[in-house]
Symmetry: C2
Subunit: 420 residues, 2 copies
């Protein structure tokens, strides 16, 4: 049987994948595409004698070949509902290692409705998170305690307190801080939440602490439970180093905590434009499983990720109906009742970059500055004040230059970090 059918028009019940493909020398695109469809559904390299006529209804079909871009439709019966690892083992499993292809990249997945409904999606989403803070319009402002690792608990809590007092809504741990001797998890959570309460009382604003619960699944759930018991509203997880199996179980616990997803390690898989899996796919899977916030890139910060790609990811996690976008190899999608996820911009940001971020990504973003706050010439509190002044200015349609005239902290930040 052939796994290629260019006349096939996939029904809505199919799962559709968009791949970039480069065959090995002397192999045609058609042959390589067929091998991918075969290996990711019912086939293998040899014609087995054990097949049955009824198996063919589960075969994948290559239904579009456009230069090095192919689309494959997968019957939904291939997939186990509610099981991300199984979906990835199918459409993103062995195929990347096949000798017949030199490079292969999974660009996007369009999930059929019933499969989508087998996942919960975010519990809070953008609206739920905004409600917690009582902040309807402006971007939320966050910081990461710095130095990223090494501070003892009391010092860690002091930095957080200063950041909240300066105007940060959110303070989070860094991705590599979990439960080390110099700053044990439970001690940190207890102290940080006390500081949060104090900052809330003194500012009259809602504040959040995002403790990093990244660990094996059982321990992660216990840590999340500890956070909840101590009045925390959030946990953060390094979703890719933990993996989908742990993330799904944590989400399914229904602890009522906001889930913040850090994407550490993603670029090992997503950065090469010709091989691997796109960040778009990762972000969509995270929305499906149900994180409430996820790092998507900054365009202008220290991490790679171009404008068009980051904008596309934001659209896909924040909108309900997605139109196909050829430039980004993105498929259409209908998210139904799955809530939108808050996009987080983090990595190399400072107050001077806020207008550009706002222009490109709109108000529904969480702007996180680490160095951009804690390296302010005065102090962390001044850095947070400057960042908040920048956010308020842009939200009110005032230029930073204008705002800086009456706001010393912002003026100092703009002097330190010049932008084009």
């Amino acid at each position: 049987m052939s796994y290629i059918d260019l006349k096939y028009r996939p029904p809505e019940s199919d799962l559709v994948c968009n791949f970039y493909i480069e065959p090995e020398r002397n192999i045609s695109i058609r042959k390589a595409a067929e091998a991918v469809a075969s290996e990711s559904s019912t086939g293998t390299w040899a014609a087995v004698k054990t097949s049955k006529p009824y198996v063919s209804r589960l075969a994948a079909r290559v239904f579009e070949i456009r230069k090095n871009h192919i689309k494959i439709a997968y019957p939904s019966g291939l997939f186990e509902p509610g099981n991300v690892p199984q979906i990835l083992s199918s459409v993103a499993g062995n195929i990347f290692g096949m000798k017949l292809v030199r490079n292969l990249r999974l660009e996007d997945i369009d999930f059929p409705g019933p499969l989508m409904k087998s996942f919960s999606g975010p519990k809070f989403g953008i609206a739920g998170v905004r409600k917690i803070f009582g902040v309807r319009e402006r971007p939320l402002l966050g910081t990461i305690v710095k130095p990223k690792i090494g501070l003892k608990t009391a010092d860690h809590a002091k930095v957080a307190y200063d950041a909240w007092m300066g105007g940060c809504d959110i303070v989070k741990d860094d991705e590599n801080l979990t439960d080390q001797k110099f700053n044990p998890f439970r001690k940190r959570v207890a102290q940080m939440l006390k500081m949060r309460d104090r900052a809330e009382k003194e500012t009259g604003e809602k504040k959040a602490y995002l403790p990093n619960v990244t660990a094996d699944t059982r321990e992660m759930i216990e840590r999340a439970g500890f956070v909840k018991e101590h009045g925390g509203r959030y946990v953060m997880v390094d979703i890719l180093t933990c993996g989908w199996s742990g993330l799904q179980t944590l989400r399914n616990e229904e602890l009522g905590l906001v889930l913040h997803a850090h994407r550490a390690m993603h670029a090992a898989m997503t950065r090469n434009p010709r091989h691997g899996i796109s960040m778009l796919v990762m972000a969509k899977l995270a929305r499906l499983v149900g994180v409430d916030q996820i790092h998507i890139g900054t365009i202008i910060g220290k991490m790679e990720g171009n404008k068009s790609e980051v904008e596309e990811i934001e659209e896909q996690i924040e909108k309900d109906i997605i139109q196909p976008d050829r430039e980004n190899n993105a498929l259409g999608e209908q998210w139904g009742k799955i809530k939108p996820v808050f996009a987080v911009c983090s990595g190399g940001l400072h107050p001077g970059l806020v207008p550009a971020l706002f222009r490109m990504l709109g108000k529904d973003i969480i702007i996180q500055m680490g160095g951009g706050i804690h390296a302010h010439p005065q102090s962390t509190k001044a850095g947070a004040l400057a960042a908040r002044q920048a956010v308020e200015a842009v939200n009110a349609g005032i230029t930073l230059k204008e705002q800086a005239k009456s706001h010393r902290e912002l003026a100092e930040a703009l002097k330190k970090w010049k932008t084009k």
Copy 2:
């Protein structure tokens, strides 16, 4: 402070990483290396005001730069014992996405003794698995039920029975088969284990079924429990699509089941020789966590992975003391009490390839053939007979040609699949 110290000689308590690095245009190797060491330990892009003198003892140090290869030493205090996701979020986290580097690959990790001791390692290992089968010398022989997905439960069990009767020790599910409607997990496990008992009785040999429990962590543990209750001895997991958090929790359950690790999706991260994470690192982490068997490649089958790389991976998972190997960018390692893992060769194999596999990788391998058994001209049973005849011949020092004279099934297989 500088993160470069070429005079530094890391003590045994440091964790050491070997990276391949390509800086972005106009950036020196030295500057890029420093940024990697900084971002993966205590630093960020700006000089923060919040640091404390005591933090510097946790800084990583670049201590060797050799063309595009660098070595970085990390103080062990940076890491949480027994937490693979945390280790990866540190040494394989944000760094792959930094604009300063164009390409970056984590080639190997040398774990310090105390960190290593915080993991259990395999429960069975090679010796434990061999004891189960009572097979001391020869490679074990396995098959994957084919077609890889789509068979109904009764047909699936029939294929397995034939394979066991022909001489397979092991029959496993494919990586994308978990709990789908056409072949539900619990029904399959029950029928397969009945067939296994029958095959054991009729052959007088020990036989194993490896059900794929890949799912979210809680469900995975429940499925493994079901397998155990029904007399199963094994489970298989797609360790990378599930992720480390789920795998660690499953291992820590101490169910007394042999853990077979499928590596579906690895090549999205491991294939590019200039970017990502090596398969060697994945295999070492799997040994640390405690899988008993893991797919390492075939050299000569349908999947990529060159001879020297696959041999290096086998050495690292099967030996106790590893010498550094510059050709493969492999560091030394001392595994202490962590048991050796059985290497699995799978993907595009057939009986004619057994001598080459044996020559390259020795007897401590599990040889799995899917198409190479089920596409035999006669039947699955004949295919399994042929494969077992090949294994027995090579083990006894007889050529396949000689063996085929008195073994019809092998003769037919060799006729169908010609080797150079």
